[in-house]
């Protein structure tokens, strides 16, 4: 039985609606199978991948191929492939968990992710019956390895500006592809590439291109800053002959595949970032406990504690937000009929509903990861700068995450853009909410949150949403259609929304945990929530102020600033004390614990 449509949380609706804890998925909801699969992945990484990581870093990619096939034997390549095509057709939580646990393997996790995600999923979701039968069983076992080729030297963020062309041959049997695809993960060994080209220079279309087709070749291995244990090369198409039956999806509709795959790639990066952050964090805490200066483990210094607690509360936020998002996909997909669930386009649409959340996860979580590895190196001191220490690789590996699958800047700009589109399409009553808020603000009375757990944090979330609507409404009033040129304001808005999503995710997760396990067993979660919400709210206030000052003037400015002051009035918590308390548990357990 599917639930009524009203119960499904709409994409982006968190900004205007109040969400209840039972509506969010949390890591505490993992099943026993989820945990076993996570453990298998962890053991696979530890026992199979890490022992040869140096060889992988030195570009000995025959190991990558061997390891991917081994992953296939364990079933770690087939979670998203339906059972009828040789996979397991498991839920998205499972594939997210696998991605999280793979992340410790650095560049190799990118190889894995490119194969199961952007490499295989276009065929899973948009392939026709023959294509699925031909490719998916072999992709699920690793007999065939996949890659995804969208970027070109001249088109990165502007993906549709691709120059690669396709032309039907005289016999009508093959498309002849010409062009170069740049920075293609797995290009060194992939058997199958999903390639985008413009038919007759116009119709943007996806193709399944096999490595063995005439005219297909790859360039030299790139020398990269990080993720060196993944193969990255140019895919060269010189009169490449692609059979007409290998057109993927509809001719001229390649952008639909590309954008949907980007959504998936984005949240998957968000999950991977959580895994990478947890692993870098653990290395760092262990080091801080071992390393002594002035006869004292450096983890005993309050400044180290401050760093550890800050990072852990950010990881908690990233983790809570991304699994909440994956839970949204699951709920949405449960609404589909059995027929629809078999239709990849429906599944892609279920994910696209949450395009905003995908973007938020992408940029927020990858920046959390960057923060963790950066402070990780810092806590390691000079040793963190040395290659023998794993944190050094983690630091270099992290950097690309803010760039690929849409730079974090592009992803930020997508957030307000998508909100505005949803508002004008009538999917979200944003404008109405903004309107009624204006009246509310005029007669706003300061509110006193109670002192029960999470009362203050819930109050901050509620008011942060009002702050977001107020500042966005103001900007929209002033600039109207021209708002898309005010990129600084758009990015401020995206940051405010991102902090709201993360704050709300931690509050709801902690609330759900307290309901289930009691306050005593949820102490660490509560500390993270208090720390994170306070710090996120401070940033929201500062972003909103910057926007208001840039947009309004005169009396209006004074009025708006006064409204902001009312909305942000609260008694700040003692973050320093909370962090010391949270750090004590972390230092004892020597890892990120909740």
């Amino acid at each position: 039985m599917s639930k009524s449509v009203e119960q499904v949380v709409k994409g982006g609706s968190f900004l205007i609606d109040e969400i209840r804890p039972e509506q969010v998925y949390t890591p505490e909801d993992f099943t026993e199978e989820h945990e076993m699969i996570a453990k298998t992945t962890e053991e696979y990484v530890e026992n199979e991948v890490l022992p040869v990581i140096e060889k992988l870093e030195n570009h000995e990619f025959d190991h990558s191929v061997r390891l991917l096939k081994k992953a296939g034997e364990l079933g770690l390549l087939g979670t998203d492939v339906p059972e009828e095509y040789g996979g397991f057709g498991l839920d998205k939580i499972t594939s997210a968990l696998i991605a999280e646990k793979m992340a410790r393997a650095g560049g190799f996790s990118i190889s894995h992710g490119a194969h199961v995600g952007i490499g295989s999923l276009p065929i899973v979701l948009f392939g026709n019956e023959e294509q699925k039968k031909k490719y998916l069983p072999k992709l699920a076992t690793g007999e065939l390895l996949a890659a995804y080729a969208l970027t070109e030297p001249g088109s990165g963020s502007d993906a549709l500006g691709a120059k690669t062309t396709a032309k039907l041959n005289a016999d009508g049997t093959h498309y002849i592809l010409n062009g170069e695809k740049q920075w293609i993960t797995n290009a060194g060994f992939a058997d199958v590439f999903v390639v985008y080209a413009k038919i007759d220079g116009e119709k943007f279309t996806a193709f399944i291109v096999e490595r063995e087709y005439p005219g297909v070749s790859v360039g030299a291995e790139e020398k990269k800053m990080g993720i060196k244990s993944s193969s990255t090369r140019t895919l060269i198409l010189e009169d490449a002959q692609v059979p007409v039956e290998n057109v993927l999806g509809e001719i001229g509709k390649g952008h639909k595949i590309a954008f949907n795959i980007l959504n998936i790639g984005r949240y998957k990066l968000g999950v991977g970032a959580v895994g990478g952050a947890k692993s870098a964090f653990e290395i760092t805490v262990k080091y801080a406990n071992e390393r002594k200066q002035f006869h004292t483990p450096i983890s005993s210094f309050n400044l180290t504690k401050e760093k550890l607690a800050t990072l852990a509360s950010e990881i908690y936020a990233a983790e809570s937000a991304v699994y909440r998002t994956v839970g949204l996909f699951e709920e949405k997909m449960k609404q589909l009929t059995e027929e629809e669930q078999k239709d990849g386009k429906e599944i892609a649409a279920a994910i696209a509903e949450y395009a905003i959340e995908c973007s938020l996860n992408k940029f927020f979580n990858t920046e959390v990861l960057d923060h963790v590895v950066d402070e990780g190196v810092q806590i390691h001191g000079g040793y963190g700068f040395m290659e023998e220490y794993e944190i050094e690789r983690a630091y270099r590996d992290s950097r690309i995450n803010r760039i690929f699958e849409g730079t974090n800047e592009i992803n930020r700009l997508l957030v307000p853009g998508t909100f505005v589109r949803k508002a004008f399409k009538g999917e979200l009553p944003l404008l109405e909410k903004a309107q009624s808020l204006q009246e509310e603000i005029m007669m706003l009375m300061p509110e006193e949150p109670g002192d029960e757990p999470l009362a203050q944090e819930k109050y901050l979330v509620r008011n942060a949403k009002k702050v977001a609507l107020m500042s966005a409404g103001l900007a929209l009033q002033k600039y109207g259609q021209e708002l898309d040129k005010e990129q600084e304001i758009l990015v401020n808005f995206a940051d405010i929304v991102s902090h709201i999503y993360a704050m709300e995710s931690v509050v709801l997760r902690t609330e759900k945990a307290i309901e289930r396990d009691g306050l005593e067993n949820s102490k660490q979660k509560l500390l993270y929530t208090e720390i994170f919400c306070q710090e996120a709210f401070n940033r929201i206030e500062s972003d909103a102020k910057e926007t208001i000052v840039a947009v309004a003037d005169g009396d209006n400015l004074r009025m708006m600033l006064s409204a902001l002051r009312k909305l942000t009035r609260h008694n700040p918590i003692n973050v320093i004390a909370k962090k010391r308390e949270a750090a004590a548990t972390i230092i004892e357990k020597e890892k990120y614990v909740v």
Binding site: M36, G75, F88
Partner: protein, 257 residues
């Protein structure tokens, strides 16, 4: 072949042991299959794959041990049995566990029973041999190799680093030493299948046992952590003096000679 594996749920090897109120603190600790029992599970699966039959994993414990049993099923065991004593017994020892398992196995006619050499928590290594004794079958501990040919069994036993090869017959109980095999980790298909495999739960009543029948033969007087390691001492001066000082320290301070 009718194969049974005795399995214990133990603390993760990475857990730090803390004590509160005279008991080992279990709050928030991670639990695993006792690593030596993992070798036993792996060996059982290999024997079954070669000779046919069925692998049943048995544990005595509480509801929480279901997770470890499910993991053994995901590795490839066919059935699992949890003998749940949570509500019946507060204090147990190796006698209790062995008696319960032997009673359970009494009418099962096992051909081969595998257990871990020791559990990494209490480390007594008693349950396996006691079960064999109660069942009246031979046992060999700390094995590193197992070959079965009909009823004939050839076993290599680790003897403090040396090897002893022993020939015997089924039925037999063996306990696994490190090096017996490389335990597999559960594959996704294994994990999915494990959901559907039978996991039976029994209580003392189902075995016609009273609490008195299995009452512990030992009593725990005190639980304490090993004393914290103090910093070492570096002796200085002439070699002769150093030797003299060392001997005197061993005599008077460490009191070991």
């Amino acid at each position: 072949m009718n194969i049974y594996v005795l399995l214990k749920r133990t603390f993760d090897t990475e857990e730090r042991i803390t004590i509160s109120g005279g008991r080992i603190n279990e709050d928030g600790a991670e639990f695993i299959i006792n690593p030596y029992d993992e070798y036993a599970v792996e060996e059982a699966i290999q024997v079954r794959d070669e000779h046919g039959g069925e692998v049943t994993v048995v544990t005595v414990g509480g509801e929480d041990a279901e997770k470890q049993l499910r993991t053994a099923l995901a590795m490839g065991a066919d059935k699992a049995v949890l003998i749940n004593i949570e509500d019946d017994l507060d204090v147990t020892d190796q006698y209790t566990t062995a008696k319960i398992i032997a009673t359970y196995l009494g009418d099962k006619e096992p051909d081969l029973i595998l257990a871990g050499n020791v559990a990494i928590d209490n480390g007594t290594g008693q349950v396996g041999p006691r079960v064999a004794d109660l069942l009246g079958i031979p046992y060999i501990t700390t094995i590193t190799d197992l070959k079965i040919d009909g009823d004939k069994v050839t076993v290599v036993k680790d003897v403090e680093g040396d090897e002893e090869t022993i020939e015997t017959t089924l039925p037999l109980l063996v306990t696994a030493q490190q090096g017996l095999n490389e335990p597999r980790y559960p594959s996704l298909p294994g994990i999915m299948k494990a959901k559907k495999k039978p996991l039976d739960e029994l209580e003392l009543d189902d075995l016609d046992l009273d609490e008195d029948d299995v009452e512990a033969k030992t009593k725990t007087i005190e639980v304490f952590l090993p004393p914290a390691k103090s910093a070492g001492k570096v002796l200085e001066g002439e070699l002769d003096d150093q030797v003299k000082e060392l001997v005197s320290l061993l005599h008077n301070e460490a009191k070991v000679i």
